[in-house]
């Protein structure tokens, strides 16, 4: 297998950063996230995963869509905003790669393609590094994700202790690997298999959930939720967005920004009617969307088992505890 010594990884990064914007997992200002290589902060290849998911490289928290100029009744200018540039996402973990695959299904299929996402996605090269250790909150192998590799990544790298095994999986990945040719040696070495300590039995959940819309389990699970957006904004697969306008005199722009189904005014309609008035309906909607609705529509779970929501929920609402409780409870008998 082709390998690059860990000591020479900075040279590899320098080469990659020449033509395109290179994003690496870093701790910037106390927060671990994907930041441009070279920005002040400490690079973190040894950490299990970042706190902020790579979601905002393809689906930014706030994204300008189009700007316009108005002259009383006329629309004098309307131009679409496109700031997509070639990017390389280095050091993505398999669970986040799976989340990118879920986002591709949402934004690129089902009769409409979202151009803002597509432009960025086409110019992105993903370099996935398999995990060699897991955090207590990781449960990706229970959700059908292999912690050591992911087939959708352009380049797959394995942590072999003092060097990284590297293999291209797409021709975009091959161009990247060719650029790093002179840093590579041939070395035998096989990736160490790793498995999560937190195990969950996620089989048969969509079928069971489809009969449990009125089940009392929702009230019991959602009672301690405080209705904030932490879980949805840290989740790599949450893709709900809102669109708003900002005006400044006779010009302005329309932007889209992340939104959370946990917020009270998320589904409030013009007349004041709200189909999900209390946190009970909202938690039900979020868990059903993650474990059943997305499955019905796209054929895969929307939860990739990264554990960020478990780690950071202020009151420890835990989707794995919910799945465990789901197993014990029969479809209709109360909790």
């Amino acid at each position: 297998m082709k390998t690059i010594a860990k000591s020479r990884i900075n040279e590899a990064l320098a080469i990659l950063a020449k033509e395109s914007k290179l994003l690496v997992p870093m701790k910037v200002n106390g927060i671990s996230k994907y930041a441009p290589w070279g920005s002040e902060g400490t690079i973190q290849f040894e950490e299990v995963n970042t706190l902020l998911p790579p979601k905002d490289t393809l689906f930014p928290h706030t994204e300008k869509m189009y700007s316009y100029k108005i002259a009383n009744q006329e629309i004098t200018e309307l131009n679409i905003h496109d700031d997509s540039a070639p990017q390389i996402l280095f050091g993505v973990r398999p669970c986040d790669m799976q989340s990118i695959k879920c986002m591709d299904d949402v934004f690129l299929t089902k009769s409409y393609v979202d151009d803002f996402y597509k432009n960025k996605r086409e110019k992105l090269i993903t370099i996935c590094i398999g995990c060699t250790k897991t955090a207590p909150t990781c449960f990706c192998d229970s959700m059908g994700v292999d912690p050591s590799r992911h087939e959708a990544a352009d380049v797959q790298m394995y942590d072999l202790g003092d060097s990284y095994g590297i293999e291209a999986q797409t021709e975009a990945g091959q161009t990247v690997v060719n650029k790093l040719q002179e840093l590579m040696e041939d070395q035998a070495g096989d990736p160490t298999a790793v498995s999560c300590t937190l195990k969950v039995d996620a089989s048969g959940i969509p079928a069971k959930l489809s009969t449990m819309f009125e089940h009392p389990i929702w009230k019991e699970i959602s009672r301690k939720c405080i209705g904030c957006g932490t879980c949805t904004y840290l989740c790599p697969t949450c893709y709900c967005f809102d669109m708003e306008t900002t005006n400044n005199g006779n010009e302005g722009y329309r932007f889209r920004c992340w939104d959370s189904c946990m917020f009270s005014e998320y589904s409030r309609m013009a007349g004041g009617h709200n189909p999900r008035p209390s946190k009970n309906e909202r938690i039900r909607n979020r868990f059903l969307h993650k474990l059943e609705f997305f499955n019905e529509r796209y054929g895969k779970n929307l939860c990739v088992g990264c554990g960020r929501c478990i780690a950071k929920c202020p009151v420890n609402v835990d989707i794995t505890l919910f799945i465990d409780k789901l197993k014990e409870v029969a479809a209709d008998e109360p909790v």
């Binding site: 928290h61 932490t230 904004y233």
Partner: protein
């Protein structure tokens, strides 16, 4: 800690069996050993889920707002900060005292699940013993004034305007506007928050430094004279913003300008910004 757990469970069973309370809010173990999230015990059989250990960090008080017109009394285990939060909700007219049955617990401080040493909110706690309760568990813990809780603020005040701006910009750039700080805060109990009134246009929905800072400063100002320094906002923030450094700055100024004051030690004293004094300091002549 463990005999407190036993007492908690006995009291809960007793209250639920006799029907004095409809349900009781306490803490139970989460999945991991350093997690003790809030628990809602509805029947005596479940009372054994209750636990008292050094990770019962989340406040139980604000859940009273989810049940403003309860079928029966609501039981609630309250530490020092929860008791002040209950006073805060009563004084803001959100709940009334007869609907709740408070079991006070003298609290000697909780641990930060990430680092294991004393949690920030407990380091600066000035009232660990509950100031309002129906029964009390444990004997009172010594209370000190802890003036050093304003030290970090004094450090920041010495900086130049540009350094201050740089510091707060770095902090507010991290904010992801998840509103966890607003949703845990007992003083944040408006019927409709200015953040949700998007038709009025108080604040844009974009996530950039300008809107984040507007939200952070506005929320800090809205609770300036009602903040009980429970530290839940800083604990709940996933991005670890130093929110208490904002709230404590306002409390420090209010103490200096209008005389020493601590929020919601009782439910009668009007908060300083809701009243005036003819002889107030004159600065705008």
């Amino acid at each position: 800690m463990s005999d407190t757990t036993v007492k908690m469970r006995d009291i809960a069973k007793d209250l639920l069996d006799k029907g004095t309370v409809h349900y009781i809010i306490g803490w139970e173990k989460g999945r991991f050993s350093n997690q003790s999230p809030p628990a809602f015990i509805t029947s005596a059989a479940h009372a054994d889920r209750l636990i008292w250990d050094e990770y019962c960090l989340a406040s139980t008080a604000k859940y009273l707002l989810d049940d403003k017109f309860p079928a029966g009394k609501i039981g609630i285990f309250a530490r020092g900060c929860d008791a002040r939060a209950i006073n805060r909700l009563i004084q803001d007219g959100q709940i009334n005292r007869e609907n709740i049955y408070i079991v006070g617990i003298c609290c000697s401080g909780m641990k930060d699940p990430a680092t294991g040493n004393t949690a920030d909110k407990c380091q600066h706690c000035t009232h660990p013993n509950p100031i309002v309760y129906d029964i009390l568990i444990g004997d009172p813990v010594p209370e000190t004034d802890k003036p050093e809780r304003f030290k970090a603020i004094e450090e920041l005040e010495k900086l130049s305007p540009d350094e201050k701006h740089a510091y707060w910009s770095k902090q507010f750039e991290k904010c992801i506007r998840c509103y966890a700080c607003r949703n845990v805060c007992p003083a944040c109990n408006c019927r409709e928050c200015f953040v949700d009134q998007y038709r009025v246009g108080w604040q844009g929905k974009q996530n950039n430094l300008a809107e984040n800072q507007l939200f952070g400063l506005t929320r800090a100002y809205h609770i300036a004279d009602r903040c009980i320094e429970c530290g839940e906002c800083a604990r709940a923030c996933p991005m670890d913003l130093p929110l208490m450094e904002l709230n404590r700055k306002l409390i420090k100024d209010i103490n200096q300008l209008f005389g020493p004051y601590e929020a919601s030690l009782d439910t009668e004293t009007t908060p300083p910004l809701a009243k005036y004094h003819l002889k107030d300091l004159e600065e705008f002549m």
